[in-house]
Symmetry: D4
């Protein structure tokens, strides 16, 4: 099946974070591809990837990068399909550098930025974008949100039933 | 014509910024509605707006807010259509408070955050989201990016032709 | 006994911090309830909780949340009883995001914000609010502050009596 | 009438901000006193003020200060009635210094911190604290919030009726 | 004369800052070219410019950009000649966003970052780089630094001679 | 009279701030000298100044600088008399850069840092240091603090006597 | 022997940091006392301590505190002897809160602020202050700085003699 | 062989970071020297080192320092050869203090600042500076960048071939 979402990241050190985007797309049964594209080490690869994406049927690109994180913004410069940026947490500046590098784009070239390390949310946002025109996907996102609600409600019930100290003990088991 | 995009903001003091989203959607000939919805002063209005949006045919919501900016995130909590957040610059913290309040959403509920005061980019992103499934809109975004390119190229040519001091003088005229 | 204080938090991962509020209220013999209410995952539950609180006799709500922490501010938007906000420390931004999201409320809807992870202080503040009209509670807060004073004075005496290196060794035992 | 709320500030340069607290208390018909108490220039005055407040019938203290803002926290150290802190915006650090100095109190001594320059909200919070035990005041806060809601709704209606460019022009008149 | 230094900037709004680099190179009699190259609006132009620079005889590139400032880092990714980055001050984040986006480059692709708005220093640094292998240029930089020294010494002498209040009055004339 | 305090600054653009240190020393009748010493433009001058200070009878040095503010720390490295550092507010980073550059000295070489633009306080601190061994100076500092107290008390009295709106009007006259 | 320096801290959890001040004073053979004084938990004790210090012969006070760190500034408000402030690193804001709370004092009441956790430097600064009027102490500080110099020079020599990889191995032994 | 690059650092605690600069210069077969020069503990050594560097044939200096990091800027003040600054990560402020102290140099004295802990990039930048006039070195930098590209491409190929969960497992082996 042709992928609808392209997940790219600047380095394989970002994979443990970025794989959360893939997992949630799997859950929504949305096809995707996942690879490494470095803005700084493989600029030609980035150009080719971004310029070809639309013709290859990609609907949304999710791009994760850390530090001077140029991959999401440059990808957005090279295509007109929506690009979601995931700022990766860094060891020195905790990802504030990544966040500013991705979010503060100039007029004309937006990047849809999610939270630092928010790759799962990037996947959900991609699903919502596709779901804007595909009711089946929309319904899956809706169902997922209902699950979230029920999980919280069950935990709340449980916490109300037992003393909080008991709940805390159970959590640490 | 039924609006495809809902533009909402927490206060009419955000209108001079947020109207940039409307202007660019006008340019792309995408229908929209624009109104004031305050998360804190009109929470019921926000609930009703967000919950009804999908059934009313809205494809994307653009929400702008400043300070403890809860409107984009709460709207995203109440609907499954994509929500774009515009952090409004604040007089005390320059919009870093708005940015963090909008961007740092928990797993499950993404907001597509653009730059501080980046309302024009929010409009372009909405167009790109619709353009992912509507080639006519995609082509308009593409054409807009070509215009941007040509404007830069013309300015560059001009700057290369004349001394920079002359160029600066022309700018200040 | 009907609870006077409602302690709510966005996720059970906040419980180890937020339980400090409960512990100090236990010490002050102030009745409370404690549960999970997520602004983003259970917005309807939050609406119902906040809107019913006053009629159920709740005098003060303590709300803890992290990241784009909307629970305290939204609760404050939905009730007119005082809301105390506890910014939870986050792994990426250390709770500065939580602090700004809770503290920087717009004119009209205040949240009484305490320190990052300051749940014990939230409990004391709730007691002080109740104590403003209940001398017995006021006296308990006063007594608690005297205890704090005496603990410091005893430690100071001890530190003055022995060499600081000995004191440090005792601390690390 | 004996004042229920004490409004103090570190310097008369804070008065234009802090008077917003007084104005809203006037609106709620809550009696207050307002004066200057500097933690650093009049520490004895601060001690006397804070220690006498409870016996003088003060229910809540609102304290505003900027920079190394010690007035709210020291007042809270010297009394057991609730203290609301207003971080004043500073010319160098925009009030982040004030916010941290007021909010980050150690376990045992809370300050109910509002937004930078949020003196109006400090007044509303004081009213909510009193309203927790005085239904008449509670109702006035409730009515005030309804007014806020109606103001937003009227503006929203107006904005929906006319083109946003017309609305902007009216604003700038 | 073939230019030794290429000065590029993301927008002509950066020209008033970036022209300082040109002025100091004029003073050092180092040939340069100056133009607009936008990473986001003219990505192909940036590729062509950066890839051709070495063969065209450019020794150093000075690149200025603001916000999510990708121009210096992407240029550095596309050439092996040294790239000096000038973070432009922004209206919302004062250039901290530009600084992080330019400075925090990943291993392998350095950008020589100067101070926010430090375009004159970028020009001096370019001269120092050329001066590392060209003694005439080295001597000019040296002479320039002597001038700076003498200017400070003359001002110091003047300030020591007259009362500081007189000096301040002279400055404000 | 031989000066007891040396006031130095990196540039005459710092003079309007740094002259506050001189004015307060005038008030305390403490002799001082005031001049320009740039760490970066006149490093030899700085060496000579700092190394000779003790033998010339200087008891305390006050050094003001902005941005990458090296003058206070380097002066402290070159002498063993106490050095007070004044971080000058900068146009881009508001003096946070100056503050960090002055305050975060490594073990072995302290700088007594005051607030951003806190030159008056630097003068008072110098007086307090001299006053530690000179009771006449100590008494003058004490008297100055009494004056501060009385000024606040008079303003407080005035504010308590008239309505705050009248007080504000008087301030703006 | 009557102490010349008073070392105080807000909590015994600050002792492992603050003891560095004591150790260096021991090295300089300067008498000191060391105890716990909490601005917030023992405000009366702080008043008494600060007000009595001068008459008890204390020449300098070193005060360490974290978070909303009011101890140094309040002590400075209550005495006219010089106060050195040590901002203690905090678990949430890394001591930026402590730094701002200590450093950003208003005109009239300076605190001589050292680096975050810079207690050793606080001790050295106290020695320098005493050394300004006591040549024997001045000479000891001078000698200490020579030791520092020699330590660095020896390490440098060693590093130049052996390969850096060998040096690193020796460090990790 | 006479060294072309001088690598200096403020303390041997910076060696594990700074040795990355040496390793990459080894790879490029560029001669260097490496030693410890502390701006604050050995200011005379720093003066001598910086002033002699040009005559000793040094083409570029790489200087690493942390906190109030004055070594790169002071070295740049004392020589006219290019100075590359490496801000070392600090335990309290994560290297933001180092970054500001190194980067925010005043007009006239630039430091070529790389990322926090970016010593490898400092080495590459030094090679690029030398490569601007030495084609053999230029070619080695070019070859190194090709290697980087190929490494990424191989990893990308591998990641595309196997499931990401398998790739992650291999990484953690």
């Amino acid at each position: 099946m042709k992928p609808s979402v392209g997940i790219i990241m600047g380095s394989d050190s970002d994979l443990s974070v970025m794989s959360e985007a893939a997992k949630i797309l799997d859950k929504f049964e949305i096809s995707y591809e996942l690879t490494i594209v470095s803005a700084h080490r493989t600029p030609d690869r980035m150009y080719d990837y971004a310029k070809a994406a639309h013709d290859r049927g990609i609907k949304v690109i999710i791009a994760g990068a850390g530090g001077a994180a140029h991959l999401p913004g440059m990808t957005a410069a090279l295509t007109s399909i929506p690009v979601i940026g995931v700022p990766i947490k860094t060891s020195t500046l905790s990802g504030v550098d990544s966040l500013y590098s991705i979010c503060q784009m100039p007029p004309g070239i937006p990047v849809a930025t999610v939270a630092i390390n928010g790759a799962q949310n990037a996947g959900i946002l991609a699903a919502q974008i596709i779901g804007a025109f595909d009711e089946a996907i929309y319904d899956r996102v809706n169902a997922f949100k209902s699950e979230l609600k029920e999980t919280v409600e069950k935990k709340a019930e449980n916490l109300e039933d037992i003393k909080f100290s008991a709940y805390l003990k159970n959590m640490n088991k």
